[in-house]
């Protein structure tokens, strides 16, 4: 489904690989190796060489907003711009709030009151609400306790199978990647991918 061909961004790459529909690929590597940079380049937020294709259609063959709407990138730190949670979900209240331990009232909460972990979980729901076909996840559970991490993994696993989505999951925790990913790769400090 997602194919990356000769992708090169600063010191990272050239990297070529693909992620099939319904598959989760894990990506780990030392800090500063460029994992975030790689995800940002695939989301076309970073100028890069090489190309990425979705079902055979190259990113540059479609408007950037359309590409990013389908290849959803979840940043490690979430950003919010309205005062309360609800306006960040333009269409409707997501139906999977309870899966991440939220009550419907959370939509009325002020963003300033949310903890980092709550923001991170809501940011995932915000991304999933747009129904992207590919998920680029940058340490999605970094600020969560074990229980919430498991809940997040559950929500993602269900999205993966129900939507037949392709996931590229960056994590430091290799045990987590063993749980969630079908195969894994490591990015070296030199910017090269090694498949495990």
């Amino acid at each position: 489904m997602l194919r990356v061909e000769g992708l090169q961004v600063r010191h990272v790459g050239p990297a070529s690989f693909s992620v099939s529909a319904g598959e989760c690929v894990g990506l780990s590597g030392p800090s500063g190796s460029g994992k975030t940079l790689l995800l940002r380049a695939i989301a076309d937020l970073e100028a890069h060489d090489g190309q990425c294709l979705l079902d055979g259609t190259a990113a540059h063959a479609m408007p950037p907003s359309q590409w990013r709407g389908q290849v959803g990138y979840l940043a490690a730190e979430s950003a919010w711009w309205h005062d309360t949670v609800a306006p960040h979900f333009p269409n409707h209240t997501p139906d999977n709030l309870a899966d991440l331990g939220f009550k419907p009232e959370v939509m009325q909460w002020s963003v300033a009151r949310l903890s980092t972990g709550e923001r991170q979980r809501l940011a995932l729901l915000r991304l999933l609400a747009g129904k992207p076909r590919v998920l680029l996840l940058d340490e999605p559970t970094a600020n969560l306790d074990a229980g919430n991490s498991r809940a997040m993994e559950g929500v993602l696993a269900r999205y993966q199978s129900e939507q037949n989505a392709a996931l590229l999951w960056v994590a430091h925790d290799t045990d987590q990647l063993k749980r969630v990913a079908t195969r894994s790769t490591t990015l070296s400090t030199g910017g090269q991918l090694t498949w495990n």
Partner: protein, 263 residues
């Protein structure tokens, strides 16, 4: 009423007042005596120089002289507008966008006023054209500098927000829209304040000058109203154009936020 000509001796007396403030500042260690003297000397030198140039331009009165003067004023205003921005675009884009926006708004507004409203003949008569353009450029410059400064600083500070919107499938326009509106407003606020305060809190400088020069107050008031409206139009259009150009430059053809284009 006759215009009373000022002698060098009159100006020297006024300069003594500045020296007196500088003296007080030295005595109380305010630490601005030096800046004050330098600023006063600059004012005198710059205005004297402009006076000489204006004497020449007024004496000749040709379109080419007026146009040359206008061009120099435009370029200086463009440079000043760029210098007032904390985070400038690389490669002279701040200067370019500001100057282009000022050219579009100030020149069009001035020429419109000369041709259609004041109907002075010839339309480039320097006595009217130069002061009008000067006042428009000065005010538009402030608006553009404030608007662009807010835009670039805002994009820098709110990078995460803009990029999150992009990542969720927004276009560059949608992602920067809030900031764009905020920047345009920031550029126009001084002009709004000046219009609201005119006559009540402050007597506008141009009107005061005309009255001092012997114009009947009512004539001075009409000119001041005209100028205020022209400034509102020039600043408004100039700020909108500059912020629009700047917002375009913040993104590349793939709607990526390009903060590397800022210094």
């Amino acid at each position: 009423m006759e215009l009373i000509s000022l002698s060098p001796w009159d100006l020297a007396l006024a300069a003594l007042l500045v020296l007196a403030v500088a003296g007080c500042s030295l005595a109380t260690r305010l630490g601005i005596a030096r800046d004050l003297i330098i600023a006063a000397v600059r004012t005198a030198a710059q205005l004297a120089l402009v006076g000489l140039v204006l004497e020449v331009v007024f004496a000749r009165g040709d379109l080419i002289w007026v146009a040359a003067m206008a061009l120099v004023m435009l370029l200086l205003a463009g440079r000043e507008a760029a210098a007032r921005q904390k985070r400038r675009f690389t490669g002279g884009w701040s200067f370019g966008a500001g100057t282009l926006a000022m050219f579009l708004s100030s020149f069009v507004t001035t020429i419109l006023a000369l041709l259609v409203i004041i109907r002075v003949r010839p339309w480039y008569e320097p006595q009217y054209a130069i002061p009008l353009l000067g006042m428009l450029l000065g005010n538009t410059m402030t608006g553009i500098a404030l608007g662009m400064d807010r835009l670039t600083q805002g994009a820098w500070d709110r990078r995460a927000v803009v990029e999150t919107k992009l990542a969720l499938g927004s276009t560059a326009d949608e992602a920067i829209n809030d900031l764009k509106r905020e920047s345009m407003r920031a550029g126009m606020i001084p002009m709004l304040n000046a219009m609201a305060a005119a006559g009540i809190i402050s007597l506008p400088g141009m009107m005061t000058g005309q009255i001092l020069a012997g114009s009947p107050p009512w004539e001075a008031v009409k000119y001041q109203i005209l100028i205020m409206f022209l400034i509102a139009a020039g600043t408004g259009f100039g700020t909108m154009a500059a912020v629009w150009l700047g917002a375009r430059r913040l993104f590349d053809e793939r709607d990526r936020l390009r903060l590397d284009r800022l210094k």
